[in-house]
C-alpha cells in the first residue's frame, strides 16, 4: 500500500483536530495545577458535560449556538462549585487529599450525568453544514475547522488574560507562591476558584465542539482526561504554552502511530508519553521549571 501526499496530509489534519482538543484539555489541567499545585482529575468530566449539556439543550429545542454557550457557562459554574464546595473546605488537608477529592468529584459528575442523560451516546449537529473542504487533497470537514479555530481562539484569549490582565497577573503570582501573592493583595481563593471555572469552560468547549464529529456519552470523560493529562505533562505542567504544544504533539503522534503501526496502539501513545515524561523529563518537552508547588 502506498501513501500519497494527500494521505499524509489527511493524517496531519486528523492529528491537528485531535491535538486541538487535547490542547484545550491540557490547558484546563495546567491552569488548575498552576494555581493550586494539584492535578484535577475531574477535568475529563468537564469535557463530557460540555458535549452532553449541549446535546441535552438541543434535545430540549434550544438552538445549537445557545445550547453550546449555555453548556460552557454551566460547566464553568460546575468547575467553580467543585472548588468552592469540595476542595476549599478541605484546603488544609494537603495535596494528595485534594487530588483524591477531585477523583471523587469526577465519579459524582459522571454518575450524575448517567442518571440525568441516560447511558446512550448522543449526537450533536455540525455547527455549520457543508461539504468537506479539500486542502492539498486532504478532506477537512467544516466542524474540524471549528475545532481548530475555537481552540486557537481560546488559546489566544487565555494568553491575553494571562499576560495582560490584572487577573492574569494574579494567576501568575499564585502559580509562583500563594503567600507572595497574598501579601501583594491577591485574593488567592478567588483566583483558585476562577482557575477551576476556566478549566471547566475549556473542557466544556472542547467537549461541545468535538461532539458533532465524535458523538458523546456520559462516559467519554475518562479517556479524554487521560489524553489531556498526558498532553499537559508533555508540555510541562503549569505552562500554558507548553500545554498547547503538548496537545498538538500528542495528536500528531497518535495519528502517526495509526499510520505507521496500527490503530490498536493509538491509545498506547498517550500512556507511553505519560510514562516517558514522568520517568525522563518531568519538566516537559519545553523544559521549563515548575513553580515551587506541592
Amino acid at each position: 500500500m502506498s501513501m500519497s501526499s494527500a494521505d499524509v496530509l489527511q493524517f496531519v489534519a486528523s492529528g491537528l483536530q485531535n491535538g486541538a482538543i487535547y490542547a484545550l484539555m491540557a490547558l484546563g489541567f495546567t491552569l488548575v495545577f498552576a494555581s493550586t499545585g494539584i492535578i484535577n482529575f475531574a477535568q475529563g468530566e468537564f469535557f463530557m458535560l460540555g458535549g452532553m449539556l449541549a446535546a441535552a439543550g438541543m434535545a430540549a429545542g434550544v438552538p445549537l449556538g445557545v445550547s453550546v454557550l449555555a453548556a460552557v457557562a454551566a460547566t464553568t459554574l460546575v468547575g467553580c462549585l467543585v472548588e468552592r464546595l469540595a476542595l476549599r473546605p478541605a484546603r488544609s488537608a494537603g495535596g494528595l487529599a485534594l487530588v483524591i477529592i477531585t477523583i471523587g468529584c469526577s465519579m459524582l459528575i459522571k454518575s450524575g450525568a448517567r442518571h440525568l442523560f441516560g447511558p446512550d451516546e448522543r449526537a450533536l449537529p455540525a455547527f455549520t453544514a457543508g461539504e468537506p473542504l479539500s486542502v492539498g487533497g486532504a478532506l477537512i470537514e467544516p466542524q474540524a475547522v471549528w475545532v481548530l479555530v475555537l481552540a486557537l481562539a481560546a488559546a489566544v484569549g487565555l494568553t491575553v488574560l494571562y499576560r495582560w490582565t490584572k487577573m492574569g497577573l494574579a494567576m501568575r503570582a499564585c502559580s509562583i507562591s500563594h503567600d507572595a501573592a497574598r501579601i501583594v493583595g491577591v485574593d488567592t481563593a478567588r483566583v483558585v476558584m476562577l482557575s477551576f471555572g476556566l478549566a471547566g469552560a475549556l473542557g466544556a468547549l472542547a467537549g461541545a465542539v468535538v461532539a458533532p464529529i465524535t458523538q458523546t456519552a456520559y462516559d467519554v470523560g475518562a479517556r479524554m482526561g487521560l489524553k489531556g493529562f498526558a498532553a499537559a505533562l508533555l508540555g510541562g505542567l503549569g505552562d500554558p504554552v507548553g500545554a498547547i504544544v503538548g496537545g498538538f504533539v500528542l495528536g500528531l503522534l497518535e495519528s502517526g502511530a495509526v499510520a505507521v503501526v496500527s490503530g490498536t496502539y493509538k491509545d498506547a501513545v498517550a500512556l507511553v508519553v505519560l510514562l516517558v515524561v514522568l520517568v525522563l523529563r518531568p519538566q516537559g518537552i519545553l523544559g521549563r521549571h515548575l513553580g515551587e508547588k506541592l
Binding site: M1, A13, S106, L274
Partner: protein, 400 residues
C-alpha cells in the same frame, strides 16, 4: 491498553487516573430482584442476568434488560413456570470483563441462581466461564463471538448467530456483488477480534481479497487515520466488524473523507443509534442479521413470524419503541431457560437445568429455531440470516 507500559512502576499514575474516572460507572443495577405479581406459594426460580448497562455496549444491554423484564412479567402474570414465579436478578458489567466475572460470582454465591443469562459482549461472556464452571451453573450468552461455542463448554449456550455463521454469509454477499477487494476495520474487543479472525480465515473461500486491515479500540472517537489508510488501499468495499457505538464514526468518517465505497457490517450494527449517529453516512450500509428487523422476512405464515410479531407488539406497547436484534437475543435466552425449566421434573437444580437446556429441540424464538445437542450449543444456521440495507434512515431487505 499498552502491554509494554504495564510493567512500569509509574503506571500507578495512569491506574489512578483510570480508576478515578472509570469507577464512576459502578452504579449497580443489581439487587433489583422482583418476583412479579404472582400469587403462587411455591419458591421462586432465581435466574441471574449479566448485561452491559453502561460502557461501550450499553446500547445493546439496555434493550436486552427490557426484553427480559417484559417476558418475566408476562410469565409471572400467567402463574409462573410450573407454579414457580421467576425471579430475575440483574447485574451491570459496565462492558468490563472483570466486572462480568465478579457479577457471575455474586449471582452464584450470594443469590444462588439456577442459571445465568449473559453477558452482552463476547469478552464478558468468556470472562464468566471460570465462575460458572466452578459452580456448575448453566450460562446462556447473548453475544455473537464464535469462540463462545467453538470452545465448547458443557455449561455454556449461545443465542445469537455466531461469527462463524455470519461472516461467511456477509463475505459471500459481497463477492456476489462483485466487491472482491475488501478493506476490513474491526475493533480490538472480544467480538471484533473474534470476527476479524474468521474474516481472515474465510475470505479466500468466499473469493474475497483483503487489501487493508485496520483496527481501533472500543471507545475510540476518531477513525480518520484508519480510514485514510483504507482509502489509500483503494478497496471495492469496506467491511467493519464491531458491536459498539464506534460504528457510526466509521460510517460518518468515510463520508467525510469522500469515500464512496459500499460499507458492510454484521449484526452488531443493527442499532437505531447507529443510524442516528451516522446520519447520511448510514445510507446504503448493508449488514447481516436475523429477521426481527423486518418480520415479513420470516414468511407471514410461519410460527416464527407469529412468535416475533407477538414479541414486537408487546415490547412496542410497553416501551414505545420496537425491539432490536439484541432485545431479540435476550428474548430467546430467557425463552430457552424458561422452556428448559418447564421440562424439569422434581426440584430444579442447576445441573438438571443444564441437561434440560441441552435437550432444547425445535424451539421457535425470534432469532431462529433452536435445537441444541451435546456437540452444538448454538443451534442456528445461515438460513436464519438476511441482508439488510439502510435506506432513508430505516432498515429494508437488500435484494440479492
Amino acid at each position: 491498553m499498552s502491554r509494554s507500559g504495564a510493567r512500569w512502576g509509574a503506571a500507578l499514575v495512569v491506574a489512578a487516573l483510570l480508576a478515578g474516572a472509570v469507577a464512576g460507572c459502578g452504579a449497580k443495577e443489581g439487587g433489583g430482584s422482583d418476583a412479579g405479581s404472582g400469587t403462587t406459594q411455591k419458591e421462586p426460580y432465581r435466574v441471574g442476568v449479566v448485561v452491559s448497562l453502561t460502557g461501550t455496549y450499553a446500547g445493546l444491554g439496555i434493550p436486552e434488560k427490557k426484553a427480559i423484564e417484559l417476558q418475566r412479567d408476562a410469565i409471572n402474570a400467567n402463574g409462573g413456570v410450573n407454579g414457580h414465579p421467576i425471579e430475575v436478578i440483574f447485574e451491570d458489567d459496565a462492558t468490563d470483563p472483570a466486572k462480568a466475572a465478579a457479577a457471575a460470582s455474586k449471582l452464584i454465591e450470594q443469590d444462588g441462581v439456577l442459571a445465568i443469562i449473559g453477558a452482552t459482549g463476547t469478552a464478558q461472556t468468556m470472562a464468566m466461564r471460570a465462575e460458572v464452571q466452578r459452580a456448575g451453573v448453566p450460562q446462556v450468552s447473548m453475544a455473537g463471538g464464535s469462540v463462545i461455542t467453538d470452545q465448547l463448554d458443557p455449561l455454556v449456550f449461545q443465542t445469537p448467530w455466531p461469527n462463524r455463521i455470519v461472516v461467511p454469509f456477509v463475505l459471500k454477499a459481497m463477492a456476489r456483488k462483485g466487491l472482491t477487494k475488501v478493506a476490513v476495520i474491526s475493533d480490538s474487543g472480544g467480538y471484533g477480534k473474534d470476527g476479524h479472525a474468521i474474516i481472515v480465515k474465510e475470505a479466500p473461500a468466499a473469493g474475497v481479497t483483503i487489501v487493508a486491515d485496520e483496527t481501533f479500540n472500543p471507545g475510540d472517537t476518531d477513525m480518520s487515520s484508519q480510514l485514510t489508510k483504507i482509502r489509500a488501499a483503494k478497496p471495492d468495499a469496506v467491511l467493519m466488524w464491531n458491536a459498539g457505538k464506534e460504528a457510526a464514526l466509521i460510517a460518518k468518517g468515510m463520508k467525510q473523507l469522500g469515500m464512496t465505497q459500499p460499507l458492510f457490517g454484521g449484526p452488531g450494527n443493527g442499532r437505531k443509534e447507529f443510524i442516528q449517529g451516522a446520519g447520511d453516512g448510514a445510507e446504503g450500509f448493508r449488514f447481516a442479521a436475523g429477521k426481527i428487523l423486518v418480520p415479513s422476512a420470516y414468511g407471514t405464515d410461519t410460527e416464527a413470524y407469529k412468535v416475533a410479531t407477538e414479541f414486537i407488539d408487546s415490547y412496542t406497547a410497553k416501551y414505545g419503541e420496537s425491539p432490536d436484534i439484541f432485545a431479540g437475543h435476550a428474548y430467546d435466552a430467557f425463552l430457552i431457560v424458561v422452556d428448559a425449566l418447564k421440562r424439569i421434573e422434581g426440584d430444579a437444580t442447576p445441573a438438571k437445568l443444564r441437561d434440560a437446556i441441552e435437550q432444547t429441540k425445535g424451539l421457535v424464538g425470534v432469532g431462529g429455531t433452536f435445537t441444541y445437542s451435546p456437540q452444538d450449543h448454538n443451534g442456528l444456521t445461515e438460513s436464519e440470516l438476511v441482508l439488510y440495507r439502510v435506506e432513508n434512515g430505516a432498515w429494508v431487505l437488500d435484494e440479492q
